[in-house]
């Protein structure tokens, strides 16, 4: 049974944020030389790297879809990324789940039918975890696909909503994720449509509606951060070199 922990004190969260405040987010594109596209995101204390490869030949052949590219996603947490992950190597049930939902959300934005009979691989590695890694991973993965030159309908902005000490909050940190009353990761595409929605814990209908509004506003800020990172990347030279 989770121990009780005070998460909101005098209206402030443990890290000093207001309930509806995002953590600091910084993004860099093109960080992996050998990937077709890559992105590194620092979201609070989360450090996550995403890479994209493709389109490439579908091997083995039976994987090929004659109508569209097959998108494969792998989400892995490094054994050193958090105390809970310490010593774990390889897939866990959680990483299989998040790999699946990354694939489903990213399939909404990638124009897969432009590349039939090919495969697109996306790998996300969490180097340091501090809560809401799935939403940060999804945001990074969409930027890695952009950096790879894959045609997209738009970008993805994902953020978590939740409840702690009967207060609705967004962008849950690790303690809020572990000891809060509810956690609701949600992702939006550029049109404002919801492409990922999960919920864990107890929320009323009214609370969910409020959280949808709050996360929608937060997603707009995240889109702005992504846009600025892209402008900064393509406004100057990049460290993408040739292969010999």
């Amino acid at each position: 049974m989770a121990k009780k922990m005070k998460l909101i004190i005098n209206g402030k969260r443990l890290d000093g944020r207001n309930p509806l405040e995002l953590r600091n987010i910084s993004i860099k594109l093109g960080v992996i030389k050998n990937a077709d596209g890559s992105a590194y995101i620092e979201w609070g204390k989360n450090k996550i790297i995403a890479s994209a490869f493709g389109p490439k030949e579908a091997l083995p052949k039976h994987l090929a879809d004659p109508h569209r590219a097959v998108l494969r996603c792998v989400y892995m947490m490094a054994p050193f990324c958090s105390l809970e992950e310490h010593g774990k190597i390889g897939f866990t049930r959680r990483s299989v789940e998040i790999s699946k939902l990354l694939k489903e959300a990213l399939s909404d934005i990638v124009l897969l039918d432009m590349f039939p009979n090919t495969i697109i691989d996306v790998y996300v590695n969490v180097l340091q975890a501090d809560g809401s890694t799935r939403v940060a991973s999804l945001t990074a993965a969409s930027l890695a696909l952009l950096n790879a030159g894959l045609p997209l309908k738009g970008l993805i902005a994902a953020v978590s909503g939740g409840k702690a000490d009967n207060t609705l909050i967004i962008d849950l940190g690790k303690e809020e994720d572990n000891y809060g009353q509810a956690d609701m990761p949600i992702a939006y595409n550029s049109n404002g449509d919801i492409i990922l929605f999960q919920a864990d814990g107890l929320l009323t209908k009214e609370e969910i509606e409020k959280l949808l509004d709050y996360t929608n506003e937060a997603a707009k800020k995240i889109f702005e951060i992504e846009r600025n990172a892209i402008y900064e990347t393509y406004g100057k030279e990049m460290k993408k070199t040739l292969r010999m």
């Binding site: 389109p55 490439k56 004659p66 124009l111 009979n117 950096n147 045609p151 070199t241 040739l242």
Partner: protein
């Protein structure tokens, strides 16, 4: 320079590579990050889709009696019908023209030329940067060839073969362009770079 992101509306009437933009309800949207210049949407990054008549470079990875298979470094493998005139072996580097694109993504190749492997340097860059290596009407490529006195063969699929003594300088120039492919006024900068570097 206005940078368009995927999903951004392009108000001007533009031409572009078929996967770089899309039309929806009579409006045009960018699919990749890029900019509009001289009526063309120029992507900064774009996955390679071959077209008929593309000149590509590849490596023969399997040879059978009458057919050979070519690795193009992309999702599209090449198929070559062998004739008496074509002398290739497994491992040969070839330059060819795309005659037809099959439904299963194989490229039927023709006009094959086997390239010498002695004193050759084979490199691979992302195909979306090839256009900047070639330059407007071949100006950048001519500049590099003139400054380095090297022979340079370019495949639109991203492979480049270089012959000559100044291969190091050619690679330096290509690397310089690849890092700045999304920026403008590269020709003058490359010219200075090659003049300084020798």
């Amino acid at each position: 320079m206005k940078i368009y992101l995927p999903g951004d509306l392009i108000k001007d009437d533009v031409k572009a590579n078929k996967v770089a933009i899309r039309s929806e309800n009579g409006k045009t949207y960018a699919c990749v990050v890029g900019t509009v210049k001289d009526g063309f949407f120029k992507p900064f990054e774009l996955a390679y889709i071959p077209s008929v008549n593309d000149k590509i470079i590849g490596i023969v990875y399997e040879k059978k009696a009458r057919i050979a298979f070519v690795d193009t470094g992309t999702a599209f493998n090449g198929i070559l019908q062998l004739t008496n005139e074509v002398n290739i072996e497994q491992g040969s580097i070839i330059m060819a023209r795309v005659m037809k694109i099959e439904d299963d993504n194989n490229l039927l190749l023709t006009d094959v030329k086997t390239l010498k492997k002695e004193n050759a340097m084979l490199i691979f860059i992302h195909p979306s940067k090839i256009a900047r290596i070639i330059g407007k009407e071949g100006s950048m490529l001519s500049l590099i060839k003139e400054k380095t006195q090297c022979q340079i063969l370019i495949g639109l699929n991203g492979y480049i073969v270089i012959y000559g003594k100044n291969v190091k300088n050619v690679i330096k120039a290509i690397n310089f362009i690849v890092e700045r492919a999304h920026l403008e006024n590269l020709t003058n900068q490359v010219s200075s770079l090659l003049s300084k570097g020798g």
